[in-house]
Amino acid sequence: MTLLALEGVGKSYRPGHPVLRGLDLAVRDGEWLGLLGQSGCGKSTLARIALGLERPDTGAVLYRGRPLAGLRGAEARQARRDLQLVFQSAAVSLNPRLTAGASIAEPLRNFEPLDRRGRAARVAELLEMVGLRPEDAGKLPGQFSGGQLQRICIARALAPTPRLIVMDEAVSSLDLVGQARLLDLLAGLRRSLGTACLFITHEIRLARRFCDRVAVMDGGRIVEEGPAAGIESMARHPAARALFDAVLPPLPPGMAAR
């Protein structure tokens, strides 16, 4: 079943410069969809619109078949809980004056009937899940490295057990081992809870490894969509081809891959 759908979504910030132009995209329950595209093509804009944080100029976002913007009361609350976004720049999406623990506890306070002890325990559990230590709960954002901040943002998004997590370059500052571990963690949640993911990334190899399907954006629309395996050889659209062909080889020039 379709969890979230964008239908004919248009958006522009400057007259005459549309960012999204009648874009259609759907994520199914439990599905992992990779979203690729040139820098500046509108992926983060799409993410904000998909979560209802920004209004599209035209078109609609449907959550389980119903317009997101029309939901009220308990249903709107449920949608806010079910859809979580990990923003592209971790450092600025965290309040610099809140400890990591307080940031992660915020969605718990809103959505879970937990007392203080229960919340603290859940925060500790979430920190460990994303590869940090429970005692990191007391530190401020300024005391973490770039990759550690991204882990905090992922923990915060996972706190209310969403149905869909939108990851906007959410592991881009992590080393490869850290990226693989975190994505394995999310893949585990998908197996146990059916959590879907819209995975916005410039790392084609990560999308290929972790997603079911991959979509490529260009000129404000989806121009290519298909199964993640073999996407590089199937892509026809010039914008998609350009991305796939530009991926840096894994080894120094002159060294053959074994």
């Binding site: 820098s39 592209q88 005391q143 490869l176 590089e232 530009a246 080889p249 120094p252 060294m255």
Partner: protein, 264 residues
């Protein structure tokens, strides 16, 4: 002309004395690119900030010497004119109320028209040639646009060295390849010496002459790039290379591109 920027035995600790970076030595040479790898949180950014005397409040540099052609100097003498820097989080490095054009005018301290012209050509070099870009505020730019804008601003002063912390994380493959070509060109034409912190082993492979690997606040291995990829000595280096190889294992077999076998 400046040839050598050396960081020796650098240490960084918290106010209470807990060490975060220890005994870090790195050498930047004109016309050479050094890549710094290491797992998240191992101390890469703090090493750079420590060397430049730009540590955040609460942290202290505990020792170490930074020298320019053998002459010890303070980090603040280096920033800007001698060492151009690209910080890890572009959005934090910008003043949200200033357009890119205003940033360039502030950085350059030359006539407005000249600052504007130099900004335009630097932006074109990083692939931001839309004439609207200099007039945008940071909040109006995408992640990758900001990252490239920051690189353009770092390059316009034509400093002999560049230190860049994860400069490619928000770039698509085309923009990334283009930046690689730009940096390789600057190394060849201007003899720019660089230190690139990156977790992308493809970037290190494409561009670096030498690679240093960090773990737990220390440098555990430094080697010429080809040797590091072919015969990693430290266990941590081998782990990073193994993760990289696993991720690349499903790559399409390379087309007719280089499998020359120059390196054994």
């Amino acid at each position: 002309m400046t040839r050598l920027l050396s960081i020796e035995d650098l240490a960084v600790a918290t106010g209470s004395g807990r060490p975060l970076v220890r005994g870090v030595s790195l050498t930047l040479r004109a016309g050479r690119i050094l890549a710094l790898l290491g797992e998240s949180g191992c101390g890469k950014s703090l090493s750079l900030l420590g060397a430049l005397d730009a540590l955040p409040p609460g942290l202290r540099r505990m020792g170490g010497v930074v020298a320019l052609d053998g002459r010890p100097c303070a980090g603040r003498e280096l920033r800007g004119g001698i060492v151009a820097t690209v910080l890890q989080n572009p959005r934090e490095a910008f003043n949200p109320l200033l357009t890119l054009r205003a940033h360039a005018r502030e950085t350059l301290e030359v006539r407005k028209a000249e600052a504007d012209a130099r900004l335009a050509s630097a932006l074109a070099e990083v692939g931001l040639d839309d004439p609207a870009v200099p007039g945008l505020l940071p909040g109006e730019m995408s992640g990758g646009m900001l990252q490239r804008a920051m690189i353009a601003l770092a390059l316009i002063r034509e400093a002999p060295f560049l230190i860049a912390d994860e400069p490619t994380t928000d770039l698509d493959p085309v923009a990334r390849a283009r930046l690689m070509d730009l940096l390789a060109g600057l190394r060849a034409r201007r003899g720019l010496g660089m230190l690139l912190v990156t977790h992308d082993l493809g970037v290190a492979a494409r561009l670096a002459d030498e690679v240093a690997v960090m773990q737990g606040g220390r440098i555990v291995e430094t080697a010429p790039t080809a040797r590091l990829f072919a015969a990693p000595a430290h266990r941590h280096t081998r782990d990073l290379l193994a993760a990289h190889a696993m991720l690349c294992a499903d790559d399409r077999p390379p087309a007719k591109t280089a499998t020359v076998g120059a390196v054994a």
